[in-house]
């Protein structure tokens, strides 16, 4: 085939741009949180399934025993971070209007940061018995 007849590929535009830069740390953090969530998630699901009932008193007692509050906090933060990274990839894949993509990712960051703060704050005050 003659060169003129070949369809230009996106590779032409990508050559010379360098490495994936921040893309790698996003990918890596998604894998790291995934690995942490294997034991943390299993612990969370089986612990919560195992409590005798879901009254406020029972859950508070469960939180205050041993390191449960610590593990729950670690699980919540890791899970919310992992969720943020995952939803970002889905948004990048399916939202093709640039300003909308940036807007959704901005709101997502805000929501996830708030959720992390709220979870940690709630767990801390539950442990302290406020």
């Amino acid at each position: 085939m003659k060169k003129e007849q070949m369809t230009p590929t996106p590779l032409v535009q990508a050559i010379g741009l360098g490495s994936a830069k921040a893309g790698f740390s996003h990918w890596w953090l998604q894998r790291l949180t995934a690995i942490f969530l294997i034991p943390l998630g299993l612990w969370f699901v089986f612990s919560l399934a195992g409590v005798p009932d879901y009254s406020a008193a029972t859950i508070q007692a469960w939180l205050r025993s041993g390191l449960n509050a610590f593990w729950l906090g670690l699980f919540a933060v890791t899970a919310l971070l992992h969720a943020r990274l995952g939803i970002e990839v889905v948004v990048e894949d399916y939202v093709h209007t640039r300003w909308l993509e940036v807007l959704i990712k901005t709101l997502l960051s805000l929501a996830m940061a708030s959720a992390i703060a709220l979870a940690v704050f709630s767990i801390l005050s539950l442990v302290r018995g406020a």
């Binding site: 690995i35 399934a49 919310l80 979870a119 709630s122 767990i123």
Partner: protein, 128 residues
């Protein structure tokens, strides 16, 4: 950066006429369960916030999730969690470059389905 090529060339695959296979079905299921679990995470945060600061919110959540519909939602989150966990481990193996041969992809797919069902039954038994 320049936009991706916008041409009228057809995109592949045509999902409307694409025969569903276990490979593609499990792949989209990984995303759907991930999104569904993000909803569960939001409810978990609300539940913890209610327990710490808002008794009426906590009561409302407890009431809702002790009903039949609430329990179905909870169990769907258990199923989604176990599937996403098992299929996530499958993805980690792929990231390490292992298990890409087609027979292995099919075998690990069925293994993931079986393991997530078994895990979900175990969680259900543990909650009794």
């Amino acid at each position: 950066m320049s936009q991706p090529q916008t041409s009228s060339r057809p995109l592949s695959p045509h999902l409307q006429v694409y025969k569903p296979q276990i490979t593609s079905t499990l792949s989209i299921l990984h995303r759907l369960t991930g999104l569904w679990l993000a909803v569960a995470a939001a409810v978990l945060v609300l539940w913890l916030y209610g327990l710490a600061f808002d008794a009426s919110l906590f009561q409302a959540l407890t009431g809702f999730f002790s009903g039949l519909f609430g329990k179905v939602l909870l169990f769907s989150w258990v199923l989604a969690f176990n599937y996403h966990l098992c299929n996530g481990i499958r993805h980690l193996f792929w990231d390490a470059g292992k298990g890409f041969e087609l027979p292995k992809v099919y075998r690990s797919g069925y293994l993931v389905l079986a393991a997530s069902l078994i895990l979900s039954v175990l969680v259900w038994l543990g909650s009794l």
